[in-house]
Amino acid sequence: MLESSPLAWLIFRAIRQRMALARVIGLLLVTVSSSLTWAAESEQTLLSEQEFLVELPVVLTASRLVQPLDESPAAVTIIDRQMIDASGVRNLSEVFRLVPGFLVGFESGHAHVVTYHGLADKSSPRMQVLVDGRSVYLPSFGGVSWSDLPLELDDIERIEVIRGPNAASYGANAFLATINIITRHSAADPGGFMRASAGSDHIRDGVLRAAGGEGNLHYRLTTGYQEDNGYAQVVDSRVIRQMNGRIDHSEGKNDVEFHFGYNEGPRGRGEAGSATDIPRDQEITSRFEQLRWRHRLDGGGDVSLQYYHVHHEWDDRYQTLPLPIPIPPFSVIIPLVLDVRSDRYDVELQHTLSAWETVRMVWGLGARKDENLSPTYLGTPQTVTDHLNRLFANVEWRASPHLVVNAGAMYEKYDLTGGAVSPRLALNYRLSPAHTVRASISSADRQPVAFEEGSNERICANPTCTLFDQIYQSSGQLRPEHIDSSEIGYLGRLTPAINVDLRLFRDQVFDLISDYKRLYPSDLVNGKTFDFRNGGKATLFGSEMQVQYQPERETRVILGMANTQIQSNDFDSFYSTSGPRNNLSLLALHDLSPSWQVSSAFYYQDKMRFIGGDPLGVLRRLDLRLAQRFTLADAHGEAAIILQNVLGAQTAYSVETVNAQVGYFTLSLHFR
């Protein structure tokens, strides 16, 4: 048919020619492209055998290696991300219930008390708490204001709790125990993250986080909001607004970390019906900056230099209700300025080295300046400044393949109390790869804080202050509190799934500082005032056990138990009843499926009484959590429902602070 139509034939021929042309062009293209590919391949350098044969610089030198738990000179409990999530807590302080021997109380919804074994009043000053190596201990009143930390639970990588004194490694106030909180690296969670929680007790929490960076520079910025009504019978509502950030930079042998944070908001204070301690809001401001530089030395050691500044203040100004006085006009309204500002500046240099094959050493020096300003509590319009300088060293000697000796000491020189040495010696003997025993002796000091050493709290009823109530007046000249501790420990892997940590301890504490009443004849109210003096003594002894059972990846059970006895010369047994005879925590979690997880936390505590608190009965607490992970477009999310105090209300500190049954729902989304 084609041949019969000249036109069709012409078109057909044209197409054939085109196709031929196209074929030629195509062939050319293929040839060119293949020769291009060949050229590209020739340029591409092939992976050489050298990659497999060449030497590498030793990165993890002996001095850089972290001590494994069974060579550590102290008993250590690690709380990891999974445990924090599974426990269902909203407040950081609550996770410490999972540590054997730890007690958590709530003087109010925002004043949390965390202590080890006991000896704690509402400020609990006998423990050191570090966040990324920065002490968050309050230099004004001591202890830690847990609600005021610029720190989000979601940013925590893990928490190491060193049970027992550890001044040789952590310095002043590493007295009964040390809590070391480590936040996640800024490169760990790139992208956005948000969490929203809501529940009974007017729980309204939120977290927003952005993290990013590339190459050797990463950043993270987190903002958080937390709100609840607190206890029904306590003026303790709180609103926490916080923000914190972290920048990590690494360049060759140098790593630089910069951390900063801010926490503010009103915290309810006072007592309903009181004329002097009227219900009101304190305004909290807490912030910090921290810079750390780490340098890897050619010989395998490291040098690090750290600086930080922590600022904490509460603004608390109000007027009392009309108060009766014995002179005309027989009634007065007193304006009160209860502001407290404290600043801590700290700089520390540390050098880690491996002197010989079997010896590792860390030594360093540091200087600290504390500034406290509190016209009412300290009775002076001036800022009170204290300096503490320290020198420390710790040597780890692998005496034989089975025996590791840790010897360390810290020398501190404090403005108020002079110089003191806190030594430690520990022997870890490995019976077999799975069983290690440890014996250790150590001592530590707790330096008095500004209020203990220099309180002078006087409330004037008239402008000339001829009429006044002297509430506190320190005699000063305090000695540091001192602890001598000895322990025997055992760490064992009974089966691949069961790890056990046992500890027998005996702590002798001297020169405990406490407030004592003393006569003050010119005092308007009762002729009495409080003074701080050394005087208390206590001996704490007992046993602890921690068991981790993980039969499979999906299931984990963590048990903590402690039996503690406190003997003291106290006159109304406020030290000897400040801890329970037995306490226990049991956390169990199980992944029902890749998306569903269920967990429960049970806590038991014998009767006890925080110093200044009310007698507490036996505590049994059960918290439950059910979570579902899901994927929403590009985002990974988790929805969880948490029920706390399922077994019923529990008293936490005093008769007013009763932890009611609480339920809340939380939803989180992480998107890249």
Binding site: W38, E41, Q44, T45, L46, L47, S48, E49, E51, F52, L53, V54, E55, L56, P57, V58, V59, L60, A62, L65, V66, Q67, P68, L69, D70, E71, H185, A187, A188, D189, P190, G213, E214, G215, N216, H218, S250, P433, A434, R493, P496, E552, R553
Partner: protein, 338 residues
């Protein structure tokens, strides 16, 4: 013809040795004349081309020679030259002294030999599998008889070692770059065979490494280092080892050096082990009537090394290197995988 300088030096240096060698050859040739014809026919000449004359290649050669020496009844003649000598010679693999087989030692040697498109069969050794794959691609079937003994270890072997050393629940993290990403399917297959869970992050630039390590190690218990020139190499090894260690997780390396630098363990083949296997393959080849090359494959002999200090520091008990080697060898012998 002008003798190239390097070759000239070489000749001067070895003149005495050669004269002695010639005398020896005469003796040998004479003795061959009196031997049965069948044995004479089995004579195989092998040209070994090494990348350089460094210690690594000396180790391969001496181990190869030792293996051959253990089988004295075999008739193998070995001639060794460097890549440079090979490239400078006009036709090293042809003419009257044409060998029956060329064995290359190292990536450069393989590259140089393959460029000449020799008619002689080529057996490449001491080169990574990825390099061989590229060379084979370049040859595009023109090289009829080509095979290789890789230097790297099969993924199955590496993953099995991890499983033996850590636990059967071990989750293995891998960061792949532009080159190593080609291995992902093989890696996934190997993970299925070895029975481990794999977490893979792909990156296209060295800058993304730290972020990728954090992401992948969120869900993994150990990092398997897979060599990639752009992403996972000598210079990035430091930051990879440090980052992973700070997360409390170990690294499985691919060389002895990785273990010294801070990896928990490595499985690798030493140059001597490679030399030994070349020898074994040559002997086996000679036994085959068609002298067929062995199939391209991974090394049979390997070494497991453990960094005890790192293991202790991370609270791990991987077991002894000997025991792991034994278990790994048993597993390899029992299956056709790898």
């Amino acid at each position: 013809m002008r003798i190239p300088r390097a070759q000239e030096q070489h000749r001067t240096r070895y003149a005495v040795a050669c004269r002695f060698g010639r005398a020896l050859r005469t003796v040998l040739l004479t003795s061959i004349l009196f031997m049965p014809v069948a044995v004479s026919a089995a004579q195989m000449t092998v040209l070994v081309v090494t990348t350089e004359s460094g210690t690594t290649h000396e180790e391969v050669l001496s181990s190869l020679r030792a293996t051959l020496a253990d089988a004295p009844d075999k008739r193998l003649s070995l001639r060794t030259i460097t890549t440079r000598e090979f490239s400078n010679a006009s036709a090293p693999a042809s003419g009257s002294n044409a060998p029956d087989l060329i064995v290359t030692v190292g990536t450069d040697a393989a590259t140089a030999v393959m460029q000449t498109r020799p008619a002689t069969p080529v057996y490449c050794s001491l080169l990574p599998q990825s390099a061989y794959a590229v060379l084979m691609d370049r040859a595009r079937g023109e090289q009829a008889r080509l095979s290789a003994l890789y230097l790297d270890q099969p993924f199955v072997r590496q993953l099995r070692l991890i499983r033996l050393a850590l636990s059967s629940q071990a989750r293995v993290g891998v960061v792949l770059g532009p080159e190593s990403r080609k291995s992902e399917p093989a890696l996934r297959d190997a993970a299925t065979v070895a029975g481990v869970t794999l977490q893979v992050e792909q990156i296209s630039d060295e800058k993304q490494l730290i972020g990728a390590l954090h992401r992948v190690m969120n869900k993994a218990d150990i990092l398997l280092a897979v060599p990639d020139q752009l992403v996972f190499n000598r210079s990035t090894a430091q930051s990879a080892l440090l980052t992973t260690y700070r997360l409390g997780k170990p690294v499985a390396g691919y060389s002895r050096a990785y273990v010294s630098a801070g990896a928990l363990l490595s499985v690798y083949s030493t140059p001597a082990q490679i030399g030994r296997q070349i020898g074994e393959e040559l002997l086996a080849m000679q036994d085959r009537t068609d002298r067929a090359l062995p199939a391209p494959g991974y090394p049979r002999h390997f070494t497991v090394e453990i960094n005890e200090r790192v293991a202790r520091s991370l609270g791990l008990e991987p077991g002894s290197a000997q025991e792991l080697t034994r278990q790994l060898t048993e597993m390899t012998a029992g299956t056709s995988h790898e």
